[in-house]
Symmetry: C2
Subunit: 603 residues, 2 copies
Amino acid sequence: MSDYIAPIKDMRFVMDELAGFKELSQFAAFEEATPDVADAVLEEAAKFATGVLSPLNRIGDVEGARLTPVGVATAPGWKQAYQAFCAAGWNGLSAPVEFGGQGLPDTLGIATREMVCSANLSFSLGPLLTTGAVSALLTCASDELKAIYLEKMISGAWTGTMNLTEPQAGSDLALIRARAEPDVDGAYRVFGQKIFITYGDHDMTDNIVHLVLARLPDAPAGVKGISMFLVPKFLVNADGSLGARNDAYCVSLEHKLGIHASPTCVMAFGDAGTFGGGAIGYLLGQPNRGLEYMFIMMNEARLGVGLQGIAIAERSYQQALGYARERKQGRDAVTGEALVTLDKHPDIRRMLMLMKCRIEACRAMAYFTSGQLDRAHAVTDPEEKKRHLFLAEFMIPIVKGGGTEMGIEVTSLGIQIWGGMGFIEETGAAQHWRDSRITTIYEGTTGIQANDLLFRKLMRDQGATAKVVFGEVFAIVKALGASGKPELQGIGQRLGLALEAWTQASEWLAANAKNSLSGVLSAAVPYLHLAVTVCGGWFMGKAALAASGHIDAGEGDTAFYRAKIASACFYADQMLPQATAYGETVRAGDRALLGMGDELFMN
Amino acid sequence: MSDYIAPIKDMRFVMDELAGFKELSQFAAFEEATPDVADAVLEEAAKFATGVLSPLNRIGDVEGARLTPVGVATAPGWKQAYQAFCAAGWNGLSAPVEFGGQGLPDTLGIATREMVCSANLSFSLGPLLTTGAVSALLTCASDELKAIYLEKMISGAWTGTMNLTEPQAGSDLALIRARAEPDVDGAYRVFGQKIFITYGDHDMTDNIVHLVLARLPDAPAGVKGISMFLVPKFLVNADGSLGARNDAYCVSLEHKLGIHASPTCVMAFGDAGTFGGGAIGYLLGQPNRGLEYMFIMMNEARLGVGLQGIAIAERSYQQALGYARERKQGRDAVTGEALVTLDKHPDIRRMLMLMKCRIEACRAMAYFTSGQLDRAHAVTDPEEKKRHLFLAEFMIPIVKGGGTEMGIEVTSLGIQIWGGMGFIEETGAAQHWRDSRITTIYEGTTGIQANDLLFRKLMRDQGATAKVVFGEVFAIVKALGASGKPELQGIGQRLGLALEAWTQASEWLAANAKNSLSGVLSAAVPYLHLAVTVCGGWFMGKAALAASGHIDAGEGDTAFYRAKIASACFYADQMLPQATAYGETVRAGDRALLGMGDELFMN
């Protein structure tokens, strides 16, 4: 085990050079977001993550959350840490000032959230869900509901949950059966069981605000008949004080592979009958538009889950690096020096660098996406707003799919560097790998991200946003080529080939979407991997150019910039060649399986 | 959870068509190994795996092994299952008849061992270690020790262990400190602590035979001063009855990520002082040649661990397939049919097929290797013997590295197919992934396999064995091309490109081994992945040719053979393009990192 130290230097580099943070303070909405404010926020967040959250991470894994007769008890230290988290204002950093938030850009917020996720993934999930619920309320709640709930949720005094999944309805929300019946005073009675509800119950706050998908009587079947309801754990009186306990209970906790300290609840709504049947709920927005509202939360949550993959990989990297620098084993193969530390062995160095460059590439994608969301929020011209929003939305499945798959692979490398010790739970290396495993599943599996990228993000504007991205990547290819520096030109060459693979694959998909749908669907995940690989190269190339510029100008920390260039070159050599392979796979579609039925799987 | 059903059809196909099992009965050593015997053995082994071992797998995960005041207690049912295993003769299937074994070929034995590993990986480790210890005794034990120990170990009445690792000596065995002092009657007193000792203690048998690496007084430093000792848990009297309890105790058990039911012991030798200091041990073979003998066990154990990766992947595949065929979710994207099972969704089918084809490819490599070991054993001509042995030894790091890395990735796909349910421990999908994670670490990490392939297997004969393999692959490329069948030609085309990448990478390594050692060492693992990818294609191509031949001849189960061809085509489209990418990475070496020191890792 080792302390988590926030990688502020890289975060700041990514914010400034790749995500356009510096320019944000020019917008009226973000005029407070000066470099000094950013410095102060990052430093404080880093202290909190290292000092408060990180030491609880293993305790949470070992103790987990428990279901008691009075509800879910979180792991020791959780409640105090959460209260300190809220008191320091971390919950509402990027939330609107109007409801008590600090209104700072998400490009800064994402760095603080990365720290929280690195330090303690299980802890981070409560605030993540609350933030999502806040977004949904901002979008569709009545002014009355906003007045009652938003300030409390933005401060973190009350947490939020998302109640989608039911035993028969996972990825397919059309199958949702939970129902709501109109009650007196415009309220509703909500009935049904929901599973996999993160922080569905806990002891950290005195109220919990459940957002629940359910069907109104006579609602159309399928996804067009789903409405969203707000169901508080405790009803709220007109004066804001808490009233009766609502009929919304956690009836069991899941025994999970990882994130043990994050309570995953089976929630029963209206089952106890304490109000004569049904939990009291309030309709959010229009009837039958619940799925649409839920997707507002979902997009943010997906960016947040992509960030989790990055954050947990960073933690694993730091821990593996710490061990590799301490543990002596074997002779230096090159110098012959006896008994050197692991980091002197070329294969260990390869693994550490692979971890590092993949994390950096994904971090850049995620922060860039926040930068686009901030611009979509801050600009006033509707066309420009739409452009930034579409770009952010294009990137979200790439960040979610790419960050989480990377997180699993990188935390596995972390174990590998620890060797046999990595398989022993006490070292903590295994926890990161276990914790990471949920991230490619929740908030939409990798397959769902891939379909989203393909059928919504790529095709909805006939590839217009994709072409903007291709253009950005091509500009980097050209700049690298024109740099006159062999190492940058080498990156440029590989990035150019990778981009070609991406554009060709995109053309193949567009050409086959109608006539070979099963082939296109089979190609979706390889296509996502291809997009992730190239986007990683885009930002690593851009980073290398920026670093090289600073070295030439004699500015800043030369060693850091040299390492940044080395990391980009390493990414180019290790990761970019895979783009061509993914492109080949995409363009093969499912031709190998055509005409085959169940006999495919016989053995 | 689901029952394990042994994939006898594919096993038999691989044995007969790819590993040359049918021809083995022509050798005097294997004249009993007729097709009928093979059928009977496979059928019985399958019954045992399904009926006895598979139901204990989750119990073992939940209950684990426990350290009690009288030693290690295995999980409920373990002892009875082990006794039934031995009574049925599974332990000595491929062991010499002279010592009570059945002398059947390893090409048959490996299929039965795969079943045991699939059914219950934790259980399989005891017999695996015993078999390794038997091999070491056969190689270097005196006739007296052989007479006392071998029959008991081959029947399974006593189990064996390998005691290599110490806290400071993991991958680097030069650092071993355990020591042995000469005692009376040619015996020795052994002192020291060993860690990560699999089945170092248990309650399944009345004796345990520890093979322990230790240093004699005045032994040279490093790996050339290590000797091997046999240290029984209970001393054995001249009449074969058990004598006093030796001073060899399990002092603690590790709390591990997976294989909970396999006791991983910290062993203390000579620490209790019950014999006035030291555990009684017997020197095996010559002084200071212990590492050499240990590597005899190691090679077999590595093939066995590669097999574990394959076996656990098979179990995960079966379980995911079972779930995908049951669980209804979503509309069929192509036909529009409402609410279909998961296996009808193209991305799920992609994952299932990826699991299947990767398992088949690795199974073929492993069984082929057993086929070569059998030939090395059975032929009499020394040159021919050496050729088969070198070929087997060339394949072993490929099977070990490839099978285990594949196992982790495929069991992760298994979880992915289960979706959120995969993250819940009760379903059992997560156990396979956790269990698999040790396989790339123990018996030599993937990095060590890669170095073994590169510096021992590839370079020891100046690439002669590699050229034999390249020639075999090229013959398949040609045969596929000459088949006149587009789907086979498609495989041949991709395999040809992949082979080209492998030969080019091999040439680059040979050319740079002297002048750019750190680059070559950095390229070792990507080179291993490249070799695995191409060898997989070799056997899948060969399988497709064989299947196609049977279809043309109107022999056998056409649906099975068609599925085999589809699986090979799928492997070609999904996996073979990666060979070129690995080749690019190999030939980049570590150029990105040259001239960089610790600043590489700063952030």
